[in-house]
Amino acid sequence: MKWKIISFSKINAPPPYTSSYFLALIEDENGQRAVAQIDKGYNKIIAIGTLGVITENESPNGKITAFTPDDGIIEEITRVAIVTGSSRGIGKAIALALAEKGMCVVINNSFRNEEGQKVTEDLIRAGKKAIYLPAAINDMLLVTEMVEKTITTFGRIDLLVNNAGITRDKKIDNMSEQVWDEVISTNLTGTFYCTKAVLPYMQKQDSGCIINISSIVGEIGNVGQANYAASKGGMIAFTKTLAKECASAGIRVNAITPGFIKTDMIGSIPKGIMSDIITDIPLGRLGKPEDIANTVVFLSSSEAEYITGQVIGVNGGLRM
């Protein structure tokens, strides 16, 4: 039985939906009418009079009628990700993993250097789509420029990974205001700036994903890291609030709290202390940047479409 579209409206994801869809009124050859949902991927071929078939689908509200236009091919979108602080360490691993999954990636660090250039060039040589856009994330103007250049280059933004972060460790007695501010302004305010800059584009698309790379230190604290712990704890609270605010626009926001990951950042920890730390980790080893990257790949995929506002600990069991 053929059905045709009588009228349609594209709905901007109200709860409990996480992404947009079309609501349509359809009619069969006998004049029988029905309400149906249409996948937003059919955007370009939906019109009054478009013919198609119906099937019964599952939705958050139960069984629904889904309309599939004839000759309809769901438009394939190449997704675009910005990964801040991705010239090395965890950020680099995340960027490589996302590119491996076919995403266009924006490589970023605070200022132009060979490291960032090389990561980008290597990706392009391997047939991936990447662009190097250095920008200090604690400067709103530079962040806005980076996001605008991303749009000019790739046309959209599907994923923002707020990964860039710094440490300036001191015990509170010796922690100057300047050192406190430096860490808060990069780790927390930088996250705010990047998020604010990408949101209008995600809202326009009715979809998007933001992943904040927090830290186990933001959950349990750590001696000598009051500034870092506060910034990472702040990112967790920021994640949960944003998840609530953005759910209706089809944008998911989650945080990952890495445990001890083998990067330059933990290079300064003395060997003796490091072996004590490893003893405390149930899985018996330090994490690899790829452990975080794999979690980002999952959280940004459609397989995680029902996950938002969550804090995912990737720490080998160090904190349960």
């Binding site: 009228s7 409206s9 709905i11 109200p14 709860p15 309400v35 939705s59």
Partner: protein
């Protein structure tokens, strides 16, 4: 039919601090004062309210009795966004029966303190179960109507934007309105998509507010100065489902309710000087302009192009700012429309006064237009 409106009370509309009891109380006491009467002279009270779920308060009649310190017959009326219009009709008919001589009708809704997710969920409950199951929202149901009208009559998003711009401009002249901000057609067209083709500035806001009127029979009204009469009122309900509507560009309930109201007072659309029309979404105002007979079917776009619905035009519509800009506390809306027309007919509408307004009309609809109440008001009763 001749029912006197002898007092009106209207709180500010917007995001208010008052609770639902206080909103009812304020509107009622103001209306009683305006009518120069006291609560003991009122035979019956009707409360129009859409949903108790917004504030988890189910027993509004007893709450109002507590706030007013009275024992009385008080009835809550619910019919989605048309609750106010229907409460007015029921009160008028109770007086017409001769059993009641006076009635107080208060409409109220407290919405702004509810989280938006819950608000969307509650609002959707005025749609049919099958529609809700398919993820329909009211903007999307009206989006279906708008798309069908665009397709059939070559109207456009720009026509809808003009409605929003007009109503926002009118609201700047109404001190009680939710918004006092002039907007441009471009502002509307550039605003965020909610449910295509409708955008944020095509949609009425979530508001709090209360509105009340004191009604009385012809005998009592004849002794009151400045009385405005309800001379016709029609009500019709059809299927809750949009899919049951043969032509999406028509609201049969509006046509039927209007016909009953016009017949009751022996008037035609040509007699209407000013109207308050239910613009929960801009497309609703456009459809109702046609279905109320202000122009031929499909010609509302032309009427908008000619500026005929602006203050100073042929039939000024939504001089109060309408639901779009005055605000839409659901239960209060139908009563608020009546109050605007009363003020227009009394010549008390201030800067938004329509010159020589003698007869006014209110059209209050519920859901996607499946319930409609049309009332016609006149200062001088015309047989």
């Amino acid at each position: 039919m001749k029912i006197g409106i002898v007092g009106v009370g209207h709180t500010k509309f917007g995001n208010l601090t008052e609770d639902i009891g206080e909103l009812m109380f304020k509107a009622c006491t103001e209306a009683l004062k305006d009518a120069n009467t006291t609560i003991d002279k009122i035979d019956v009270i009707y409360i129009a309210n859409f949903s108790s779920s917004f504030v988890n308060q189910c027993h509004l009649p007893a709450l109002l009795a507590a706030r007013l310190g009275i024992n009385k017959e008080i009835i809550r009326v619910e019919s989605a966004c048309a609750s106010g219009g229907i409460a007015l009709k029921e009160a008028a008919f109770a007086i017409l029966s001769g059993i009641r001589k006076t009635a107080l009708v208060v409409g109220v809704e407290k919405m702004s303190s509810t989280p938006i997710e819950k608000t969307t969920y509650i609002l959707a409950s005025a749609a049919g179960p099958i529609e809700i199951q398919h993820g329909a929202t009211f903007p999307s149901l009206y989006g279906l109507i708008a798309r069908a009208h665009f397709n059939k009559y070559q109207t456009s998003e720009r026509h809808l934007a003009e409605i929003s711009v007009k109503n926002h401009l009118n609201a700047t002249l109404n001190p009680l309105a939710h918004f006092h901000k002039e907007i441009s057609v471009e502002d509307v067209l550039d605003s965020r998509a909610i449910a295509s083709p409708l955008k944020l500035l095509d949609c009425s806001p979530i508001s709090d507010g209360g509105a009340a009127v004191v009604l009385c029979n012809e005998e009592i009204a004849s002794h009151v100065e400045d009385v405005v009469y309800i001379i016709g009122i029609g009500h019709d309900v059809e299927s809750i489902y949009l899919m049951d509507r043969k032509d999406l560009t028509v609201m049969p309930a509006v046509i039927n309710a209007a016909q009953k109201a016009y017949q009751m007072c022996n008037l035609t659309p040509e007699n209407i000087d000013v109207a308050e029309v239910h613009d929960c979404f801009t497309i609703a105002e456009l459809i109702e302009m046609e279905d109320l007979g202000f122009c031929d079917k499909g010609k509302a776009g032309e009427m908008i192009n000619l500026g005929e619905t602006k203050i100073g035009g042929r039939i000024p519509i939504n001089t109060s700012g309408g639901l779009k800009a005055k605000g839409h506390p659901i239960g209060a809306t139908g009563i608020s429309q009546v109050i605007e027309i009363v003020k227009q007919l009394q010549g008390k509408a201030g800067k938004r006064q329509v010159k020589d307004a003698k007869v006014g009309l209110c059209c209050n609809i519920g859901g996607s237009g499946s319930t409609a109440v049309v009332s016609i008001l006149s200062k001088l009763h015309k047989k």
